[in-house]
């Protein structure tokens, strides 16, 4: 931590969302209080994400690592300003990041929203897709049911990581 007594509130606000502050063991009491402040905010963001997508988050963390949550934390001070509340900001930043890097995983997030009644209908396609990376309903349902099956048992990360997700193929009924 490099905050000085003369620093501005804006600088302190930005510094609070640096992940180095939550992963570096603090030495002094002052550093510990600042670390607690940073961790408190990180946990708040994680709480919003885990509440909305409890099953998909565990799968994504097992596949990509926990840095998918840390990335939201790192972007919170700069990209959060377009949202109205903390929940929208945490979930919006996370979803946009997933869409950008892996549209398949974004479909899983949307499907979990659909299953939890947050969307009137899911946005996935209902027809046989030409695109290799588009999930069809049967796939999504099977994948999500597996994630619930694992999630309710707090399955270890390795089970998620070994779960083969091959969209449009793995669970498709051969007609």
């Amino acid at each position: 931590m490099a905050i000085k007594n003369t620093d501005t509130i804006d600088l302190i606000f930005n510094e609070t969302y640096k992940s180095k502050n939550i992963f570096t063991p603090p030495a002094s009491a002052r550093d510990k209080h600042f670390t607690f402040e940073c961790i408190r905010r990180y946990l708040d963001i994680s709480r919003h994400l885990n509440r909305r997508w409890p099953h998909t988050i565990r799968y994504l963390q097992a596949v990509y690592g926990e840095n998918i949550s840390t990335d939201v934390f790192e972007k919170f001070d700069t990209t959060g300003s377009i949202y109205r509340n903390l929940n929208d900001a945490a979930c919006g930043i996370f979803f946009n990041s997933i869409v950008k890097n892996s549209p398949i995983d974004a479909e899983l997030l949307l499907y979990e929203d659909f299953r939890n009644g947050k969307a009137r209908s899911s946005t996935y396609t209902t027809t046989q897709p030409f695109e290799k990376f588009t999930l069809i309903p049967y796939d999504l349902d099977s994948i999500y049911t597996t994630l619930m099956f694992y999630g309710r048992a707090y399955a270890p990360s390795i089970l998620y990581a070994n779960f083969i997700l091959e969209p449009g193929k793995t669970y498709r009924v051969d007609t």
Partner: protein, 287 residues
């Protein structure tokens, strides 16, 4: 101040205000027979009040203050939001506006639990004074500046020097939040300590805020969280009594209990009443 005549207040949003109006006149409610005579209304810039609520407030025999959570007293203030707040404030018989200093908003984002307290240094003192003067002039209402929740503390100006200069130079008063100050003390590894009775700040403290907090040890340091729904604990009440004995200019004591159950509200009110009686019986001497 005659401690026995000090009023108590509760806080909440527009829905809570409507509930409060109903309960206030109900002889079976938890507010009946208590000295609760004040409501602190939490408003957002887009909130709108029904005409029936406005009419009931106009003739109410309790006082009303407004506690927005969108004014960045220590940062950049959105004048459009301020104008929207004024539209709501202008239709109610508001006694004063109370707001934590620091930053509440980052662009459109309401920071809530990520509200950031200002470092106690000259730069943030200057910014907060400038903004407080402007807001005071804009609303043409008394402004009570509140010490915000503090989980980590920066700057080198002592707490009481900072708030005294802030109030004196901005022509504002202070809303002293006891739990938030406990948090400040924890962040500085200090015991709870308030100035003696002769300190000028007591003339500027116009309201005391008290709310639930969670305190525990984390990595060898005392930490805490603001938790308005929690019952008032012993640590808080132990800090409240000596504060009450010194706050001779306070108009009311605001019990911030958003989200708490009826039982918690009832117990908190009883606890504060007993504390007031204890301070009064001791003639302030004990504290």
């Amino acid at each position: 101040m005659d401690i026995n005549s000090i009023s108590l207040g509760v806080s909440g949003d527009i829905n809570k205000l409507k509930q409060f109006i109903h309960l206030y006149t109900n002889s079976t409610s938890i507010y009946h027979g208590t000295p609760i005579k004040h409501f602190s209304l939490g408003v957002r810039p887009w909130d709108r009040l029904e005409n029936s609520t406005i009419d009931l407030c106009a003739t109410a025999d309790f006082t009303i203050s407004v506690h927005p959570v969108d004014i960045n007293f220590s940062g950049v203030i959105d004048m459009t939001d301020l104008a929207s707040l004024k539209k709501i404030i202008d239709v109610l018989p508001i006694s004063y506006i109370e707001e934590d200093i620091g930053i509440w908003r980052n662009g459109n984002l309401f920071l809530g639990a990520h509200q950031t307290n200002p470092p106690l240094n000259k730069k943030s003192l200057h910014t907060t004074i400038t903004n407080a003067k402007m807001v005071n002039h804009f609303f043409e209402l008394p402004i009570f500046l509140e010490n915000p929740p503090v989980y980590s503390e920066f700057g080198s100006i002592p707490f009481w020097d900072f708030y005294l200069e802030l109030c004196n130079r901005s022509d504002c008063s202070m809303a002293f939040d006891i739990g938030h100050y406990l948090g400040y003390c924890k962040s500085k590894d200090l015991a709870f300590n308030i100035p003696d009775t002769k300190h000028e700040i007591w003339s500027l403290i116009k309201t005391l805020h008290i709310s639930g907090i969670k305190s525990w040890m984390w990595n060898g340091i005392p930490v805490w969280l603001d938790q308005h729904s929690d019952p008032f604990n012993n640590e808080l009440i132990d800090a409240f009594k000596p504060t009450l004995a010194k706050a001779y200019n306070a108009q009311n004591i605001l019990l911030e209990m958003e989200g708490s159950s009826i039982e918690v509200e009832r117990n908190n009110i009883d606890l504060v009443k007993k504390s007031i009686a204890e301070v009064s019986e001791n003639g302030n001497k004990k504290y």
